[in-house]
Symmetry: C2
Subunit: 350 residues, 2 copies
Amino acid sequence: MQQEEQFSSLGNLGEFGLIDRLTQDFPLRQASSIKGIGDDAAILEFLSGRTVVSSDMLVEGVHFDLSYMPPQHLGYKAVAVNLSDIYAMNARPTQITVNIAVSNRFGIEYLDKIYEGIRHACEVFEVDLVGGDTTSSYSGLILSITAIGEVEETKVTERSGAKENDLLVVSGDLGGAYMGLQVLEREKTVFQANPSAQPDLSEYTYAVQRQLKPEARKDIPELLEKLGVLPTAMIDLSDGLSSEALHLSKASELGLRLYEEKIPIDPSIYKICEEFKLSATTIALNGGEDYELLFTIPLADHDKIKGNPHFTVIGHMTEKGDTAKLVARDGAEVPLKAQGWNSFEREDEA
Amino acid sequence: MQQEEQFSSLGNLGEFGLIDRLTQDFPLRQASSIKGIGDDAAILEFLSGRTVVSSDMLVEGVHFDLSYMPPQHLGYKAVAVNLSDIYAMNARPTQITVNIAVSNRFGIEYLDKIYEGIRHACEVFEVDLVGGDTTSSYSGLILSITAIGEVEETKVTERSGAKENDLLVVSGDLGGAYMGLQVLEREKTVFQANPSAQPDLSEYTYAVQRQLKPEARKDIPELLEKLGVLPTAMIDLSDGLSSEALHLSKASELGLRLYEEKIPIDPSIYKICEEFKLSATTIALNGGEDYELLFTIPLADHDKIKGNPHFTVIGHMTEKGDTAKLVARDGAEVPLKAQGWNSFEREDEA
């Protein structure tokens, strides 16, 4: 494992020395960041519109496995998945705080690499790291991130805003992150059995990248704005299309139809699904971690997004009192079920 | 341990069911909370002044020991220590997000009790729980909280604002939380040796309460406002007077003198220090977790706080280029050292 390459004990540096070291070279870019790290709290200024706040925790062994997750990617992914929630509100992320708990089995150099990834994400998504806490833990590595963003009052996209007959649209393609995880888990098993094995992952590049370095869809709210489309409701796909579509349906108090044949899946993902004898539709519906955006738009806006390679219309909202259903390729309607990932169930199985 | 009294597995409820259950009965009180839990992010509105944000993580075995920390107190304390940072900015806390990681050795009823404490803190400090994440962990219990607050632009108290000759003032009294911890650790050892022992902690009530149920000093910024005193700098005492005074000195680029004989220590704490053969001054300087406020005020404001039982003038700021020193009872000047608590050193010793 990478953390054993170099090792400087965290105890030598002390808690303040460690925070100072990890959070250097994080310039403030946002006008709303008045003061970042270095006081009891960060000082921000939001003088118009709405401020949105979202918070997530990533736990070693539950959300990530350090045997195949490089520390830079972990830092980047932890930020990206939090920002994905901000984009889902149609907001522009502005600041993050990062709390990290680590045991002494991690050297300072390893933490430096995690913060390299965090710094890279701050650059890419133009957010400021304005606070956080660094502490020891007796076991694994835990990252807890809070993201803050801004949005004009009239442009907030809640889950509850979908209207009857609105089109259901998704960005990008689905199922990649889950299949990337399957590939990595298989390679880990192979490696454990034969440590000299040199895996050739070139066929799986896209899937593995979707798992290790997911991108929050910063470009989607920008693109929609440019196209003059304001979604009526939006949510990000962290737990699988099925579960998230149900959230939209429930919050908007409407039914919906989701067409199996419309679900966008990359050809390379279809191929991996075949290899693993898994249904690509099931993976796209329940796999999770794709961090694409699922949103609804008025039927009248269809022309504005039609043919755009970033968007796929996968269904539509139906009337109040109706339920959420998948329309299979043969035309059969099946109730959608939330079979998204549940960290507690997974632990029960262990 | 209390968590074994009743037990319902977390896996049965699922992640969303668990969040729903834990976060019910958290009404929104703040005008700035437009929408709380239930979407990708909370929606807030800050239309004037400054917004302050602070984030902290509490790790089982590092920051708390569940064998003597009741879950309600843990929830309350986790919120209070975060809000303490907001009060230290002279701000009014408005919202919190709570991320919690737990292993399946905790039942739902145990988490309910933690959230009872969080709910009680939300009532006492008038803050809204607006978000958070609930996940499993393979080992202990981890709480990560982000607190948000508001303050008029001209009233923010940073660490860097102290002026030469300003008085150094502290609220309440010091050393109690650390001695409370010593008492609890001793009783734990006694209990482990003889589980039928019934400890009589009545002599230690104050110290134990300072450790188990610290109060963030909501009243202090309110009282100072009423008295017409605006601190030039302020910090909260989480790591001990010595370490925090050094932060003020460094950030304000000034020296300071802190008078040993002025440090406020409760008589019951003196008594426990004698029993444990510890110097009460050392404990007040380095003990930590008192969550009192340390601040500086212009000399001209002395009359406004003089004789107020909440405040003790313990020293003053000196000129630029000077250092931070403790003036001992015999008049000798000793450099202040940050010997506050370091979670990584502690782990090294383990």
